[in-house]
């Protein structure tokens, strides 16, 4: 398929929360809502619950030269506006040929653990609901049909978490961001029955548990002097830990309708993983006691898990071993792994041998089905292609440039600073 003819829905992008997002928060908690404070050195930080959170836009480097990919933006003017301004985001999506996008949070953490850490749980719940309302009504609401809405979880209370899922479902939300491993965040594990009210609410409302890599609070650490490349290489591979933990947990047996997405998890490792779980079952279930009835673990995996990739020639080649109905494309805007604005060309390149039918499933149809998302209720299909969106965005500036204002932090670990070329401000 030609890049222009693709329809592209991304199941994993990121938004940087804008400073004014809590303006509509309940009056009672207005003063306790997270707020952005500009420091004397020009840096912007979120302040909440007595703490300063400096990573306002972790790895939000879209539009920058690669030499700056290791540099963390510390203020809004060090980021491309599309990171945090939804009108600009939609223009960037148009220019990148992206019809639809699901946006994970930034400063609260992927599973909103920042809010879970507050002592005043009533206040924390008000903040979280305010965030979710803003996400649905303001961010997604400003461009109907262009976003897959997603809720933050009430991590500290499974009943409240279930109630929030049901409240959000009434607003059309079918995705909940969650952690790879609640145990490592200090909560009961996937093997406990603690979360059953949440799993029940998710299945009742056809809401997908969207698990983003890096959400366990644990990094793929090898040694303190290991270069950053080790971490970058391993980070996406470690979501297989969550996949194994969930697959062998009680969830597939007790909640056969629960859908799970392994966000930013890649796909090339899945065929090996499926072979591994089937072999593990064959060799060991007689003493471990696992029982999937007539199914093999690989069947169970395909019933429950959506996988996705940014650019993964191996996964595309092995799509039949993964399951063509279990693969989605993602953009990962505005992080450094993203190929925005050239994702359509990259996807077309790795898919030259893929039938249009298979490619349509990967690029948008699986995302629509899993997330109960229908962009065509708002936009005719012929206006949703890469070519049509890009034509609409003609003139929108996507030039690569430095956003360095001189207050960057180097996101380094064992990296020789001398190898970093600092660019003059554009």
């Amino acid at each position: 398929m030609r890049p222009d003819d693709l329809i592209m829905v991304s199941v994993d992008d990121h938004l940087v929360e804008p400073p004014d997002m809590f303006e509509n928060a309940p009056a009672k908690y207005r003063d306790q809502m997270p707020k952005v404070v500009r420091k004397d050195d020009g840096a912007d930080v979120w302040v909440f619950n007595g703490a300063e959170i400096p990573n306002i836009g972790l790895n939000a480097v879209a539009g920058r030269p690669k030499e700056e990919y290791g540099i963390e933006p510390t203020a809004f003017d060090e980021m491309r506006p599309g990171c945090w301004d939804v009108a600009e985001r939609v223009k960037d999506m148009d220019a990148g040929g992206v019809l639809g996008s699901m946006c994970f949070p930034s400063f609260p953490g992927f599973s909103a653990r920042l809010f879970a850490a507050a002592d005043d749980k009533d206040m924390a719940l008000a903040v979280l609901r305010s965030y979710n309302d803003w996400h649905v009504d303001e961010w997604c609401g400003s461009a109907p049909g262009r976003f897959i809405p997603m809720g933050l979880p009430v991590l500290w209370d499974a009943e409240l978490a279930a109630a929030e899922v049901r409240r959000l479902a009434e607003k059309g939300v079918h995705s909940l961001t969650f952690t790879e491993n609640p145990y490592t965040l200090g909560f009961p594990s996937f093997h406990s029955d603690h979360w059953d009210p949440l799993w029940t609410a998710l299945t009742d409302t056809e809401t997908v548990l969207s698990i983003h890599l890096g959400s366990s609070g644990q990094l793929a650490f090898t040694a303190p002097d290991a270069p950053m490349d080790v971490l970058i290489t391993l980070q996406p591979m470690n979501i297989c830990t969550a996949a194994a933990d969930l697959l062998w947990s009680r969830i597939p047996k007790q909640f056969p309708d629960l859908k799970i997405a392994l966000s930013e998890g890649g796909t090339g490792w899945i065929p090996y993983f499926l072979d591994r779980i089937d072999r593990t079952y064959d060799m060991h279930h007689l003493w471990t006691g696992q029982d999937f009835g007539d199914l093999m673990p690989s069947d169970v995996f395909r019933r429950h898990f959506l996988t996705c990739f940014i650019s993964d020639p191996v996964g595309v080649q092995m799509r039949d071993l993964i399951g063509i109905d279990n693969i989605s494309w993602e953009c990962d805007y505005p992080h450094s792994d993203s190929s925005w604005p050239f994702a359509p060309e990259e996807l077309a390149e790795v898919s030259v041998d893929v039938s249009d039918e298979d490619l349509d499933k990967i690029s948008y149809q699986n995302a629509m089905r899993w997330y109960s998302y229908d962009p065509f209720a708002h936009l005719p299909k012929e206006e949703a292609t890469v070519g049509a969106l890009r034509a609409k965005a003609a003139g929108h500036d996507v030039e690569i440039r430095s956003y360095d204002k001189g207050r960057f932090e180097i996101n380094r670990q064992g990296v020789d600073l001398g190898t970093i070329t600092r660019k003059a401000t554009a």
Copy 2:
């Protein structure tokens, strides 16, 4: 290829150390050598340096029914004799069609960390050398051409480690077992120059650094209540952590001739890993400072790493993306993942579409080249095939039976004991 026509050399098996192995140790340290003590309950334990090591044959379950795979043998008579008796081992190899075998240690740990923990380092060195001499002279020496000899490393001193590698090379040894991560065992990491004398000795003597999965001292732990299946699934996948750590370390740049084997690491994940490291390099090397000159990281991987599999249909299918010269078969006798004595049939089954040329590389030629191993100096090729070896072993008993003497420990983690069927003693 028909199973009978295969020639099979296994680059990963395990020996259980027999009680009499230190009989030829230096007189000075005779009393301090590890020794086997039989407990009142009939269990056998190794005693060394004031400690009792109960896992004499970790997971040595060959020949048992699958219901007993989760049960740890605690005495020599609870194991198939081929685990610890080399004459019986060779018969088991014949019956399984296995020409050659490289045997990792059991009670000292994969990188002999037990010996490294002793306060008296002179004594520890004497023990380690005595072990290595026994391994080469007695275990391998009893059946010339049937084993790839392997040394244990002097983990606590890089200069002594280098000297031992050179000493062993004089005895024909071209393999050194080592840890996935020295840092997690309390030693300097792969990123330090601490190990340079060892790397130099390995390259000088064409000795392969054989890194067995599970040798980092860290398990793939998710939660205390996670079922054992999670650990079993993830254990072989986690060697990619070591692969990434080594690939991005100074070793490939400073020691371009060093050869590394990822023992029991599987192969199906390698194509994805190679794509991932190349993409990481492309996206990030401008700020991380990695520099491989004219090579891509995947080229560097193929220059340094031998991979292997027990049964891996995905890896076999993707062999061209891995590198046909970088793949070896392994048997993993006597552990539960092994398909002994039916490995030839299993390998033939996953290789139906593989050319004889490729299959010969996988089943024995790559192992011979990497480990400077030449079985045909001792045995004509026509007597080395699966069919010829099995004919020789006609009548050798390979029947599956219970070795349960009633003192087993259940190797459990979150497993319902009620699901374990204990068998009557055979």
